[in-house]
Structures are given as C-alpha cells and as structure tokens.
Amino acid sequence: MSAKEQILARIRRALPEPRPDTGIPRDYLAVHGARTPAETVDLLAANLTEYRAKVHRVDEDGIAVLLRRLLAERGSESVLVPPGLPPSWTAAVDATLIHDRADSTAHQLDAVDSVVTGCALAIAETGTLVLDGGPEQGRRRITLIPDHHICVVRVPGQVVDSVPRALPLLDPTRTLTWISGPSATSDIELDRVEGVHGPRTLEVVLLGAQ
C-alpha cells in the first residue's frame, strides 16, 4: 500500500460515516468600524507608521520631485524599477535607473541601493501592502534584496478597509507578498530590531489628490 492509500485509509477509519456537516459561521465582521474613504487612507497611514514604515503623501504633479528627494536623502546611487512603473514617477530621479531583467541575478540585485514599485492593493486596518507581481511591482526578489523599498499606493483607489475586503480582489494563482512594515525581528530578548533579511527601510508614498 502506498503512503497515500495508507493515510487515506487511516483517515477513513478514524472518521466513520456519516460525517457531520456543520456549516462555518461567517457572522464575523467584514469591516471594523465605519469610515469615509479619506479616513480609511488615514488609518492605513497611521498603521503603517506604527509599524515603522515612513509615509509620504503627494499628488501626480509632485511624485517625481518627491521620489528624487527620497532617493537623494538616502544617498542612493542606483534604483531598481519594475518594467511597468510609470516613467513619469522617476523622471526627475538623479540615481541610475536599473531595469529588472529576468536574467539579473540575486547577487546583482544585492548591489542596488533602492527599489521603487507600485502595489496591488493596501489594507487599512492592518497597515499592509499586497504585491502580486504585476507590471508596476515586478518580480518578488526586487522588493526583497535591496535595503530600501519605496512603494507607491494610489489613494483612495487601491486602499481597502480590511482583510476580508482584500481577499476577493486578489488572484490566488499569482504569488502574493503581504508586507506590513520593514523587516524586523524580536528574537533577542524581544528587543525589536529592524531589517534582518528584508529591506531595513520601507517608505510608502500615498499618491492621490491632496
């Protein structure tokens, strides 16, 4: 008997028929509290900040200048961009733009200072950004290896209130990366230290009419 047959047979012996079919009570809340779209964006900003992401607000006209400033302040000389990132966002950037290519290796990415991406959506109640590998976000590895990640969220359009609101909008066949702040650990005496293996600095740009 194969292991599969063996395991299935054991399960069937453990659970004699008929099996109970109790439903799942779904009376938990879809959203916690009532908020206007603007308040939802404020909550996202507050929760991201609490988890030590740096949050900036800007409109379409200001994003190029803001990104230039953020990269310059950090002294970034090279910045990685996914294939579908709107060129207008990085139009004023002084740093060298590096376009991610399928054949660029992890070691090559390790030499880059910063990365700028969009996102699939953001969740206000938990302060979470979700990336699904779309053209504005690029491959998973580009938001992982460089030490500085700037993520642009279109507000209010890309912001949802809660986790239950987020899942129906996501495609499970794509690899999903949920990010709620910069990489951190509390493994040493529960002292929180930012940046173990992922980016040490996460900046979030809320892009919309101000």
């Binding site: 659970l15 109790t22 439903g23 054949d103 998973r140 499970p172 650990t185 005496e189 992922g198």
Partner: protein, 525 residues
C-alpha cells in the same frame, strides 16, 4: 514522530532542573509576560474576536471531518499548478523523500524556513546523515542551531538565551558554518542581528534548494501560506531553484476565503501584531513562475501524517489538530513560565505540547506519560486559544488514558493500552507540580474540583444562550483557588499593561469573575 530527545528526562525531572535555573526563569518570565500583555491589547481591538474564534474553530473542525476529501482536492490543485505532491506516513518516510529530492538536484546544502514539522521529524539530522547541510535562517533558529541547542518556544525558539549568551555563540560558532562574526562583536541586539544578516545573506544568495513548512494550505486553489517577519522566509521561498515544503496534513483549509479568518487571528495571537510583517502565498509554480526567475522552478509538497491520523481517531483528542501554532497558550501558562520549553521534551512545548506530543508519539515513554500532568488545569490556555482548543479537557482525557488504560489508535491500528503501573505517572507529575507551584494542597484540590466540575457542568447552554456558549466556556461552577489565582494575575498584568501604554487601552473582558483569593499567596507577581 521520532522519539524524544536523546537522554531526555521525564517532565518532572526536567522541570525541576529548569526551575532552579535563575537565568532561564528570568528570560522566560520577561518574554511570556511581554507577549501576553501585548496580545490582550491586539485581540481587544477586534470587537468580533469571539466570532472569528468560533469561525476558525468551525473551519478546522469541518476540514478535519472531511480530511480525506480536502487532501485529495489539495493534491489535484497543487498538481494542476505545476507542483508535485508526495505523501509520507511517518517521519522516516518524509525524511527519505526530502533527502532524495535534495540529492537529485546535486546540491549538498539547503536553506530552511523555520518549521515545526521538519523539527518534529528531525529532518536536519536526517539530511546531515546523508551529507547535506541544512541551514536554519530564522534568527532564533540560527541561534539555536549554532548553539547546538534545542528550541524552547514555538514562536521565539531562543527565548531562553539572553544577549550575552547569543553573542558568545555567534563569536564562537559562525566561522565554522560560513561567514564568521565580525571582530569584537558586542551584545547589542542590533549588532547581533546585523551579524546574522551578513552571515545568512551569503547563504541565501547562493542557495539552490530551500525547505519550508506552511501555516496553511488551501484545498480549492493549491495555495500555500507562510507567515514570518524577518524576510528569511521570503528569501527561501523566492531565490532557490527548488522548493520543498513539508506540511502536516492538518494544515489544509477548504477555501481561499477561509484565510480571511486566520489572517486576522494568527498574527494577533502569535506576535500580538495586527499583521505579521511578511506573508507569502504561492500556488504551485503558477502560470509565469520559473521562466522569468520569479520563484523556484520546481516545487514539491510533502504531506506528513506521522501520528496525525492516530490523533484524528480520538474523538476528544483530535481537537489538538486544530492548532495553528500561534504559541499564545505557552505565554499564559504558569507551568511553562517556570519550567521552560525544554522540559516538555518535544518540539511542541507548553500546553499544546502537553496534549499534542503524547498523541503524536503515544504515551509509551516516561516523558510522554507525564506530559498530560504538566499543567495546573487553570484553563488560561483555552481562554487565549484562537481556535478554542479545550486543552484542559484533552489533558484530563489523556490522564485517564495513562492511568486507567483504554483504547487508542497507533499507526492506524486500534489497540488497548494497559494502565500505568501504580499510577507512576501521576505520582511523578505531582512531584513536578509541587516543585513548580509550591502549593501542593491547593493544586490537588484544584485538580479534583476542576475535574469533577468539568464533568458535571453543562458544556453548552440550551436555547438562545447557545450561540454565546459556542465560543465561550460557561463560568466555573465551583470557585477554586487556581482560577482565582489566575484571574488575579491576569488583572495585575492588564493593569500593568494599561499603565505602560498611554491612553485608554481596551482590554479583553475577564471571562472569570475575579474573586477573593482563598489563600494568602493568591496573587503571585
């Protein structure tokens, strides 16, 4: 499940040793109290917590009741998405499958994401025996691995080590595994984390094979989910060419939507955060993966039984399979706090370990026979459990099995176990309890009362009260000292937490009416 750690003493002896270790106790106290207080605040933020808890319990119970069907559906989904599914009836089989998969890639090293399942089967040791080096990449697991140590907590496995000890381990051991620790390494957590970052980055960037577990597997879509915070999980799940995930069969949930429950309850119960910092969800190889270097080009899922179907066969004990490994029950357990994780002699410490290990492994060894006694039955573990596992109920059930014997399932076969000789286990356990709690009289009385009360008391309210009791315990009928003792402790903890955090921190309503302590030393700090 592989046997207990070599030379592992039974719980009472191990606990006695741990209780004498002042450093260990201080480290543990600090840790458990900090996480416990934070968790209460994070949970109190969600007004529908009890409904989420009931839903999480229901999803798990429903899945377990149809486990064969959901595993077959999962297998079909993962296969359709380009993954390969393997089934392993026990630890040896799982280790053999993984070893062969690694050897087939021609590689001699793997990077690992922290995973209870691979610890349970002793995978690192099995790989080592085959000449394959397995590198743990979670910072705490790295500390444990470099220190030739064992994990002592589910979430923070190196919690028993303080910064000075960690510094010494890094300075002495890193060089033997790869990039050495920097000269003159200090004991600041920042410096230590940086040393680990540099040491491990070297491994991530060259690794060709990764081994992980998973927190959830979705039958409907074939999606696997890993929760983490450091980014080491993302590194392992993204960069290598081959990914091998070893996952217990109880980790399956039916639908993608079901994740909405656990994405809310697991992080808050575990790290006491609204969301863990990183969550990765992947589905087989996906449509675009492999070709553009975005993620592994080969994915293997090893479905692990190793005592789980035996546990499933026990109507009372099977609820342990609902566990989502959040570790909340460890942090509230007065016995864990004193004894530490090592005393439990298994990768699953604390209250959940006390009910899971003897079921996965059987109660044949002395340690497994004494584990059901590693508890005061105070009920705090049940109160915090996000999937409402009635740990005290299972403990009592297992004690009965040990002491009186009875039917159990071992490797799929129904057998009767004989009663333990002269109640050895109980006597041993009482010794442990005395050392741990200094209240032997109260403990015995409490145990008896609680045991009796639990049998007599209605578990569910009839009529309209039913919905309320579906996710709550009815208040205890008889007042007894441990409940009071516990309620006092909790109250003191919350007051402390309230003082520390400015503003009106909403706290969990006490489920037990705080009553006057019956003995003077009722409220321990």
């Amino acid at each position: 499940m592989t046997g207990t750690h070599l030379g592992m003493p039974a719980f009472p002896e191990a606990a006695r040793e741990a209780v004498r270790d002042e450093v260990l106790r201080a480290n543990l106290r600090h840790a458990t109290h900090t996480i416990r207080d934070k968790r209460a605040r994070a949970v109190a933020e969600l007004e529908d917590w009890d409904r989420l808890r009931a839903a999480g319990k229901a999803v798990k119970d429903h899945t377990l009741a149809h486990l064969d069907r959901y595993l077959l559906q999962l297998e079909a989904s993962v296969t359709a998405a380009g993954g390969t599914v393997h089934w392993a009836a026990d630890a040896d089989e799982a280790n053999r499958i993984v070893t062969e998969l690694v050897l087939a890639t021609g590689e001699k090293e793997v990077v690992k994401v922290k995973s209870m399942a691979t610890q349970e089967i002793g995978l690192n040791e099995a790989l080592e025996a085959a000449g394959i080096a397995a590198y743990e990449t979670d910072l705490a697991e790295l500390i444990v691995q470099l220190g030739h140590d064992r994990p002592s907590h589910i979430l923070v496995p190196a919690i028993h080590r303080n910064r000075g000890e960690i510094r010494d381990v890094f300075a002495a051991e890193m060089g033997g595994w790869g990039r050495p620790a920097p000269e003159g390494l200090g004991d600041d957590p920042r410096e230590l984390a940086e040393a680990a970052r540099l040491h491990l980055r070297e491994k991530f960037l060259r690794a060709k094979v990764a081994v992980s577990g998973a927190n959830f597997m979705v039958a409907e879509t074939g999606t696997l989910v890993v929760f983490e915070s450091e980014g080491n999980g993302r590194m392992c799940l993204t960069l290598p060419e081959t990914l091998i995930s070893v996952v217990g069969i109880e980790k399956v949930v039916p639908t993608f939507r079901d994740l909405e429950i656990f994405l809310q309850t697991l992080p808050r119960s575990s790290t006491a955060e609204r969301m863990n910092l990183y969550t990765t969800m992947w589905t087989g190889l996906g449509p675009s993966k492999g070709a553009d270097g975005d993620g592994p080009s080969a994915f293997h899922l090893v479905l692990l039984d190793n005592g789980r179907t035996d546990t499933l066969a026990d109507e009372v004990g099977r609820q342990a399979l609902r566990c989502i490994r959040c570790s909340a029950c460890l942090n509230v357990c007065p016995v864990y706090e004193r004894a530490g994780g090592h005393a439990y002699g298994s990768v699953y410490p604390g209250p959940i370990g006390a009910i899971l290990s003897p079921q996965l492994r059987g109660t044949g060894s002395e340690i497994d026979a004494t584990l059901p006694y590693a508890s005061t039955l105070c009920g705090a573990c049940y109160e915090v459990c996000p999937v409402a596992i009635d740990i005290p109920e299972v403990l009592l059930h297992l004690r009965e099995r040990v002491v009186q014997g009875g039917p159990v399932t071992r490797e799929g076969i129904r057998v009767r176990i004989r009663p333990a000789d002269g109640h050895t286990a109980e006597r041993a356990a009482m010794r442990a309890a005395r050392i741990l709690l200094d209240h032997p009289g109260a403990l015995r009385a409490g145990e008896r009362l609680l045991a009796r009360a639990r049998r007599l008391r209605p578990r569910r309210l009839p009529g309209p009260g039913r919905a309320w009791t579906d996710s709550r315990e009815l208040p205890e009928l008889p007042e007894h000292s441990f409940r009071d003792w516990w309620a006092q402790r909790e109250k003191a903890g919350r007051e402390k937490a309230g003082r520390e955090k400015a503003g009106p921190a909403k706290v969990e309503p006490a489920k037990v009416e705080p009553a006057k302590p019956e003995h003077e030393k009722g409220a321990r700090p």
